[in-house]
């Protein structure tokens, strides 16, 4: 039984600014990682989440620019993959270049199905 899982890329400190050169290297690595998953026919969809024009809406409905307030941790993007189990999805997540940064994580979450079981 194939399930779908979201692999959510978390950066420990989103305020760190990388050089354009570094960003390009990351981009290539990310594409290679995603290409490898797609080559196994396990890629469903995905998107990066650029920081430009990001907003955070707080409890008091105050809107601030950018995702960075009291917490520095931020989400860089997510992809959705097909896998038999959460363990298999975690295996796919291990190749994510985000993990090169110490403290960064990839969160694996099962996608709720529209079949009344959730």
């Amino acid at each position: 039984m194939m399930n779908e899982y979201a692999l959510i890329m978390r950066h420990q400190d989103g305020t760190k600014v990388a050089s354009p050169e570094q960003i390009q290297v990351w981009m290539k690595q990310t594409m290679d990682w995603i290409g490898g998953i797609a080559a196994q026919n396990k890629f469903v969809s995905g998107t990066g989440l650029p920081f430009d024009e990001a907003r955070v809406v707080s409890h008091n409905k105050v809107v601030t620019n950018g995702p960075f307030g009291d917490i520095k941790e931020t989400i860089g993007g997510f992809i959705i993959v097909r896998a038999e189990s959460a363990d298999e999805a975690a295996e796919l997540a291990k190749g994510c270049p985000v993990l090169q940064g110490e403290g960064n994580t990839v969160e694996v979450r099962k996608i709720a199905k529209n079949d009344n079981t959730h």
Partner: protein, 408 residues
């Protein structure tokens, strides 16, 4: 009287044109009538030309005969009693019925409309390809059977069922409305793409037939490019892809008809003119923001027109395959991507990724692993190549694998 040289493929080309025009006149539901009249026209030529000589303008001769036969058919009572009469009378109130428009403009329009009719989503892709070959490209049933490595009976049945389905779906000879055009264009492109691949990769020994299939695919695509509403970036991208592939046609086979692998091909045999035309259309494809799989495949094919191996070449190819797989998975793309990965990151890295592909029943999977293991683990390489040999379906593939085994 001097015997005029018969234009190559005259009947084949004219079959598609005349049938399309007549079918537009009679309505798609009477496609069999249109086909019959066209066939009768050719029979009439066969009855006359060998004895009286080929007419000065054979095309005009065929059109005149086809027009007369169509008129007779229209006036035949039983036909008028059917739906045709109402349809025709509605469109051509009185005497105009007799005007059968075989001008270039109407031929072109009718063929385009026929293309959309036979590539209707209500029938499966292989039936679309068969119908396109028969009706638009004027291929004989035996030629189609040959190309598909099938028999006449199977092909006849397939085409019969397909036409029945199109009639049931009330398919019309018309351009899709503009808001449906983008969606309706997709199966048309798929069919033309299959048609081309059928010619390019077909196992049939008939080299001329294979080349004809590719030429026909490109001709149909050119019709779409020449029509402003269908001159879309992805149509140009597909055309570019075909130009790049077709440029290697002469280099792909040696004197004995054996496949010559890409690495061993004589570059001087590549058709430079086709490559240039392809590059031109790839440029035209670079408009708008929609990136189709044809854009990616054409770009990959473009890199293959540059024989020299550079890191840049393989990095680009890898990048393009990554993107292609994200849009649409296919085992071939997955295997080719892994090969590109090997060229960029080395065989060891590629072996790890290859073994995750889960394509153990695919002969090309084992051929790839045989290749990757070649200098790392001869035993493993041999094991994979033997598996490949066992799974290979065609003689050409078996020969290629065998040569690799010998070279270990």
């Amino acid at each position: 009287m001097q015997q005029q040289e018969l234009i190559p493929h005259l009947f084949r080309t004219e079959f598609g044109r005349i049938t399309a025009v007549l079918c537009k006149l009679f309505g798609f539901e009477n496609i069999n009538v249109a086909e019959d009249i066209t066939s009768e026209t050719f029979l009439a030529a066969l009855d006359t030309w060998p004895y009286k000589g080929i007419p000065e303008n054979p095309q005009a001769w065929l059109y005149t005969v086809a027009k007369n036969k169509a008129k007779n058919s229209l006036t035949r009572k039983q036909l008028f009693d059917q739906k045709i009469s109402l349809a025709v009378q509605a469109e051509y109130p009185t005497e105009d019925v007799m005007e059968i428009d075989l001008t270039d403009r109407n031929i072109h329009d009718s063929q385009l409309q026929m293309l959309f009719a036979v590539c209707h989503p209500s029938i499966p892709p292989e039936a679309q390809v068969g119908l396109a070959l028969r009706i638009l490209c004027g291929f004989g049933i035996d030629e189609i059977a040959h190309a598909f490595l099938s028999n006449k009976e199977t092909i006849n049945k397939r085409l019969f069922r397909a036409k029945e389905k199109l009639r049931a779906a009330r398919v019309k000879m018309e351009f899709p409305p503009e808001n449906e055009l983008k969606a309706r264009l997709q199966p048309v492109l798929t069919t033309i793409y299959l048609l081309f691949n059928e010619g390019y990769y077909s196992e049939t020994e008939n080299e001329i037939l294979r080349k004809d299939l590719c030429d026909e695919a490109m001709r149909l695509l050119k019709m779409l490019i020449d029509y402003p509403l269908t001159n879309k970036p992805e149509v140009n991208a597909l055309f570019a892809l075909m130009c790049f592939q077709a440029s290697r046609f002469a280099a792909r086979k040696d004197k004995n008809g054996e496949i010559v692998l890409y690495e061993d091909q004589e570059e001087s045999l590549w058709d430079k003119e086709l490559i240039t035309i392809g590059a031109l259309h790839l440029n035209m494809a670079a408009q708008g923001s929609y990136l189709s799989k044809y854009h990616l495949e054409a770009s990959i094919a473009y890199w293959h027109t540059i024989k020299a191996d550079t890191p840049e070449k393989w990095e680009n190819i890898l990048h393009l395959y990554n993107h292609l797989l994200v849009i649409e998975y296919s085992p071939v793309a997955a295997l080719n991507r892994t090969y590109a990965l090997a060229r960029v990151k080395g065989n060891e890295a590629a072996i790890i990724e290859a073994e995750k592909l889960n394509l153990t029943n695919n002969p090309f999977y084992h051929t790839l692993l045989g290749e990757l293991y070649k200098d790392i683990n001869t035993l493993k390489a041999k094991e994979h190549l033997l598996n490949a040999l066992r799974l290979a379906k065609t003689d050409t593939d078996k020969k290629t694998i065998y040569a690799k085994l010998e070279a270990l």
